[in-house]
């Protein structure tokens, strides 16, 4: 018998249907992935199973049966007995899903004390035991701390422990790792699966990322615009998708680009670029010196004409700061940047442009598309007719026909369309160099694929060079000719795309790559696999005194200065 039985479920917000006629069942002990992009209604199904639809939402028809009992028909007190104890839920944003004002201990034990009627001491002991299982070194201390003292990954582990503490029979994890870096993402998912298997919990994993989820679940259900469009055993769905949309979700997996290594001359060059931020805590006196955080540390970088240089690293690695420092959007402490061998003069921004991450806040909501794109031409000395022509041309090129879109306002457009406007605004002045800072990270997977393709097409047509910054190795693989891996403000590895993907030398690069899901066809079955690498021992991590060493043509890896390879370079340099 199935544990959760969803029958013809429709959920509506006033007149808008968020979920339409969805039937699904989850058997005890299985793991089901619900896949869909934003607005597909995937989250609402999980919420409805707990009777926790957000304001204004209601089940308009159909039913959800938990263990044979109708959830929408339950009284409030029956619902409260269900929540936590029978069905546990993990939320997406670890930064806002724990109460900042209460200790971790209180938040972990309150559910236990409520449902199990435990003493404070027993509840605490159970919490310590559970934190130990999710691999906290000092669980007792964790209980006394507040959420803000932990990183995103740690908070999500606390969340996992806190929910599993109640031993629910069904665990609903709603995008549990979306807000995390790739490496931590896999750690958390692995840990979740381990715990779920150990306790025999049934898992409903809600995600937008089919490739990521595919290797963890037994069955998948694909949702689009509130409807369930495909459902089945994961291997079968992936190998023989019946819906073109499913196929598109699969195709969003990286197809490594064939690198064109060109002998073009250098366009943008940075030498010894360093940026430090001053950080002051709230509780300090005005005259106490600020703490310095070295965001970018002595970076040398060259972008050749017409190439796309991919820059990848986890959040806080300094990659965005580096991109901005190249355009002088943040002041650098030392080092210099040149464009075609010349120092950046007064009007370098006509030649160098940036595309931002967030398609919602980077466009002025009161200006029309035409006005926004026109901004890019403000300082160009050209006739009005030419201006009009250029704006129309670039809008057509980003596949937003100017006849239709010129007078629209940003809020009338989707995220993907807005990001195209950002691209049009940056490219309308025909710059030689563009920094794309996480430009597709806020987009859904299939939209992301479209925008990437568009970007690549434009680059081939217009021939600009680009620095493409992303935390997502999959995106970088797909678009970059050459790849730079950054960590803690320093470049740790740098190589042509195919070289880096095939022979990563730095352990950090290897970890990044092994967190990216890949498709592989085995005996006619499509499966998701992860890369693994042998330990090369070539590069050393986290040493203070290190330098980039060229290990092959164009392939640089950070080594400790004491290694023989580094020593020989030093000698050559000094002689």
């Amino acid at each position: 018998m199935s544990l959760l039985d969803i029958k013809g479920l429709s959920i509506s917000f006033r007149s808008v249907k968020a979920v339409e006629n969805v039937s699904l069942s989850v058997k005890a002990g299985e793991t089901l992935g619900i896949i869909g992009e934003s607005g597909s209604g995937k989250t609402m199904i999980g919420r409805a199973a707990l009777g926790l639809l957000p304001g204004g939402g209601r089940v308009s028809s159909g039913d959800i049966l938990y263990n044979g009992e109708s959830v929408p028909g339950m009284s409030n007190s029956a619902l409260r007995r269900l929540r936590g104890a029978e069905i546990g839920m993990i939320f997406q944003e670890p930064m806002v899903s724990l109460n900042p004002a209460l200790t971790v201990g209180l938040q972990m034990t309150e559910g236990l004390r409520l449902h199990r009627d435990m003493s404070r001491k027993d509840a605490k002991a159970a919490a310590v035991n559970m934190l130990d299982k999710v691999r906290f070194r000092d669980p007792g201390a964790v209980l006394r701390q507040h959420p803000h003292e932990f990183s995103g990954g740690m908070r999500q582990r606390i969340m996992l422990a806190s929910v599993l503490l109640l031993q629910p029979r069904l665990l609903i994890a709603d995008e549990p790792t979306t807000a995390l870096d790739a490496i931590i993402q896999r750690e958390i998912l692995d840990l979740t699966m381990e715990m779920v298997k150990e306790t025999g919990t049934t898992l409903m994993l809600v995600s937008h990322d089919l490739p990521l989820v595919a290797s963890y679940v037994d069955r998948v259900a694909i949702m689009r615009s509130g409807k369930l469009i495909e459902e089945g055993e994961v291997g079968a769905v992936m190998s023989r998708p019946t819906q073109p949309y499913t196929e598109r979700l699969m195709n969003a997996l990286p197809v490594p680009k064939t690198t064109h290594v060109s002998g073009t001359p250098p366009l943008v060059e940075a030498r010894g670029l360093s940026v430090a931020f001053k950080v002051k805590s709230r509780a300090s006196l005005p005259w106490t010196p600020a703490r310095k955080v070295q965001a970018v540390n002595n970076v040398d970088l060259t972008v050749h004409e017409g190439e796309i240089l991919g820059l990848v690293g986890e959040s806080g690695s300094g990659k965005s700061t580096l991109g901005r420092a190249l355009l002088k959007l943040v002041p650098s402490d030392s080092g210099n940047v040149t464009l075609s061998g010349q120092p950046l003069g007064r009007d370098f921004r006509r030649q160098m442009q940036i595309i931002f991450q967030d398609p919602f806040s980077s466009l002025n909501p009161r200006r029309t598309v035409g006005q926004i794109v026109r901004e890019g031409l403000r300082h160009l000395d050209i006739s009005e007719a030419e201006r009009q022509g250029r704006i129309a041309d670039i809008l057509d090129r980003v596949q937003l026909p100017h006849q239709t879109y010129m007078t629209r306002l940003p809020h009338q457009m989707s995220g993907g369309q807005r990001q195209r406007i950002s691209i049009a605004r940056a490219l309308v002045s025909r710059p030689k160099f563009v920094v794309a800072d996480e430009s597709v990270s806020a987009l859904d997977l299939t939209v992301q694929a479209d925008v990437l393709e568009l970007f690549r097409g434009l680059q081939a047509e217009m021939g600009f060079a680009a620095l493409f910054i992303s935390h997502d190795m999959a995106v970088i693989e797909e678009i970059a000719d050459r790849i730079i891996v950054m960590r803690h403000g320093e470049i740790v590895e740098q190589a042509p795309g195919d070289t880096l993907l095939a022979h990563p030398r730095h352990p950090y690069t290897q970890r990044l790559l092994s967190a990216v899901p890949m498709l592989e066809r085995k005996n006619g079955q499509l499966t998701v696999v992860y890369r693994s690498f042998e330990d090369t021992h070539a590069a050393t991590e986290d040493v203070a005194d290190s330098m980039l060493v060229e290990v092959a043509s164009g392939h640089f890896v950070r080594h400790a200065s004491t290694t023989p390879a580094a020593q020989s370079i030093k000698k050559a340099f000094h002689s």
Partner: protein, 313 residues
Amino acid sequence: MWTYATKRFLMTIPTLLLVSIIVFVLIRLIPGDPAAIMLGDTDSDTALEAMRSKLGLDLPVYRQYLIWVGNIFRGDLGVSINTGEDIASALVSRFAVTAQITFVAVGIATLIAIPAGLIAAWRQNTPLDFGILFVSIICLSLPSFWLGLMMIYLLAINFGWFPTVGFVSVHEDFVGGVMYLVMPVITLAAVETGVLIRMIRVQTLEILRLDYITHARAKGLSEATVLMRHVFRNSVAPALTVIGLTLGALLGGASVTETVFSIPGLGRLLVDAIFARDYPVLQGCLLFVSFVFVMVNLVVDLLYMLVDPKVKL
């Protein structure tokens, strides 16, 4: 935690020093000669000179300032030109009156506004929410002098429930004192309640949308527990700053209300000193009011540590 408290406390020293300089300079910028005012109508230059040197006005400005600050540390703020009353003791007795009214008024406003704001947000877009909002808008848009005068007219003169104007200390006559307090307190509390309800409501709406509230509900907690344990602290914390600012402003003298009800409070003292060109009193009042304001904000910041764990650095 204690380092933060100590640092925060030390921060008040430069603030107060700066305030004392500003007050001192401002008074000296007012046109007119205090010596001439003290002497009244006189043509005698020698008398003026004598008065100036008696008041120390012939000394260089920085010496005057140092003498003044030195005296403050000895608790000597000088005497009033008009009444010859000791300013320090006048300030203390006037402050006691203002503090009584203010603390009671802000206390009542807080006690009404917190639950009202929480409930209005919790029941957003229901008749209950609209009702609370309506009342709060009326409260904050009534001018306090009008409300005061209307209460005097209706409650005191027509019904005779309360004494019209004046003040009796609750230490001397508790029931009588309380009767005198009722109308001024209502006048002050009305506006503050209106402002606070709206603020707490908006803040609570913000908090209710966050994942940790849904998470708390998903644990099976009752609505009462969710509101009390998870919403309350987070939505009241920002209101604390506003309550502190209000308290500071009102303790510095609710001049309008004190004038309407003829209450001998700090605000009246200040207004009277301005009309009478009583420089020493004015100077002492300004300094004292600033001191109270700084202290109230110090207390609020320290209280903040209790509700917001991130401050414990």
